[in-house]
Amino acid sequence: MHLSLTHVHASLGGTRVIRDVSLAARDSAFIGLIGPNGAGKTTLVRAVAALIPHDGLIELDGQAVVAMEPRARARAIAYLAQGAGSHWPLEVSRLVALGRLPHLAPFRQPAPADEAAIARAMHLADVENFRGRDVLTLSGGERARVLLARALAVEAPLLLVDEPVASLDPYHQLGIMEVLRAYAGAGRTVIAVLHDLSLAARYCDRLILLDQGVVKADGRPDEVLTPANLEEVYRIRAVIGGEGERFVLPVARTD
């Protein structure tokens, strides 16, 4: 897996939201995409998933994502939307199985390989206990894990997740972050849009800090989460601490 963005621009409703972003990512990385509200994180992820048009070049293994055949792209890039949900009261195992749709040949039922991938995803996300339940009757934390399992079941080399831990309690936040790190460790890349800087610092190998559509910093968490960057981009003063178990505790606004 080799993702590369070269001079990427993207607009929303005529406003330029992403400006001249260039970066590259390789196998086995858990990348956190951070930045204040409106920095363009979601837009950048959606551009990579080919959900919105962009200028410049976004390539996966040397092929432009917009030029890829939709099913091939669906096998290569999995995407979990912010606040994703289900419109119908689907059974959990059925919902997770939807992640295999890009792999199914027309008129074919899921093969043993698909069933195995579904089982792996459900195991990884720890949703086997409620596999027969209706997804709409689950708690917020359980539902978030089911929807994540759906994205994991694609077994795509690149997984994009948009705010996967928003609105979850600390226990479930840690659970989701561990799942994502385990997935990234298996030779795959995860790019997660994150707001919780402590979680980003603790779990990610690399952070990309966006500010007003521009990459402000890109590197190891300790290189990116500096007092200067936090003040300039987030307009906050924070206590940064911990040895190994890093944390970022915002204490005051600076403007």
Binding site: L51, A74, Y79, A84, G85, H87, L90, P102
Partner: protein, 333 residues
């Protein structure tokens, strides 16, 4: 929620039920008698005439009941999946009111006497015109909201024009025909009409069925469906065009038959579960069974004018729908 039944079992049972109702529709005559005395006498006097009644009167009526019911059930389930809304029904996109208007205009201008096929032709033309208008209004990459709004506008406009035709109707005879058209009926149809609608319905069914997996993916929203490899534009166009073609063809020969496309997918959802793709076949079968059963019901009165099929389906459908709402409210207070 009760656990969904085995889909194969449901489909097999529904197929058997539909075939039984199809046979009943061919053999049961006015007053609900199984091969009426009148028919027996006819067989004794003139076998050929009796055979003609069976193949040219009863058979097309039964076949149209099957085809129209299957169309309404299938497209209702498909549209509810596409729009992710359990209140969607095939009439929503305007093709059926367009078809009704097209057929009514043929009556209005007194062309129906010229050829029996002009009415369904007018209906199909109306449905296609409604679809073309929808496409122009909703744009090349239509969103769900614009489709619904444009569909409602087209339906309202076609409905108004149909009422105007009734209003300005040149003769009481034409007015009566127009009213009958708006009520929906399977009586006095010919095999020629069956052959006429079949290709439109068949293409429509295939288009809707081709979206089955995409409808499943759409359960998780348009973005997720898109990243699962389904182009929103292609899925929407196939589902809407397929629905318009099949329902337009249905309305062009039987008039508007309401509530089947709305109620049947709900009923099937409680049997086989909510996954949109798994609802398509059972809804088609149950739609066919429901229309055939309702058409048997309208034959039961021995005397007087026959109640119109569309009236009966609405009379059964509306209270049933209320019951469904109350049931849902009990389950999810």
């Amino acid at each position: 929620m009760t656990r969904p039944l085995n889909a194969w079992l449901v489909n097999l049972t529904l197929t058997a039920l539909t075939l039984a109702l199809l046979a009943a529709s061919i053999y049961v005559g006015r007053g609900g008698e199984f091969l009426t005395d009148k028919f027996r006498t006819m067989v004794e006097i003139d076998r050929e005439l009796a055979w003609l009644v069976l193949t040219e009167v009863r058979l097309p009526r039964a076949l149209l009941g099957l085809l129209v019911g299957a169309t309404l059930g299938l497209t209702g389930a498909g549209l509810q999946g596409l729009l992710r809304n359990p209140l969607a029904e095939p009439g929503l996109i305007g093709a059926s009111s367009g078809a009704a208007l097209g057929a009514v205009l043929v009556f209005y201008f007194g062309m129906a006497v010229g050829s029996a096929m002009l009415v369904p032709l007018g209906g199909i033309a109306g449905a296609l015109a409604a679809l073309a208008t929808l496409y122009l209004l909703a744009g090349r990459n239509p969103s769900i909201v614009t489709i619904i709004l444009a569909g409602v506008a087209i339906s309202a406009f076609c409905g108004a024009l149909t009422s105007l035709a009734l209003n300005l109707s040149p003769s009481p005879y034409a007015a009566l025909e127009i009213v009958f058209w708006m009520l929906g009926s399977l009586t006095d149809r010919s095999m020629a009409q069956v052959w006429f609608v079949l290709p439109f319905m068949f293409v429509g069914w295939l288009l809707v069925l081709s979206t089955a997996r995409a409808l499943d993916a759409l359960s998780l929203g348009e973005d997720t469906a898109s990243t699962l490899g389904f182009s929103r534009r292609s899925v929407t166009l196939r589902a809407i065009a397929g629905t318009g073609l099949a329902v337009g063809a249905a309305v062009s020969v039987t008039g508007v038959i309401g509530f089947v496309g709305l109620v049947v997918p709900h009923l099937m959802r409680s049997l086989v579960g909510p996954r949109p793709a798994s609802l398509l076949l059972p809804s088609a079968l149950a739609g066919a069974a429901l229309v055939l059963a309702a058409d048997l019901l309208v034959r039961l009165p021995t005397g007087g004018p026959e109640p119109k099929l569309g009236v009966v389906t609405a009379l059964i459908g509306a209270p049933f729908f209320l019951w469904l709402i109350l049931k849902t409210r009990r389950e999810h207070p």
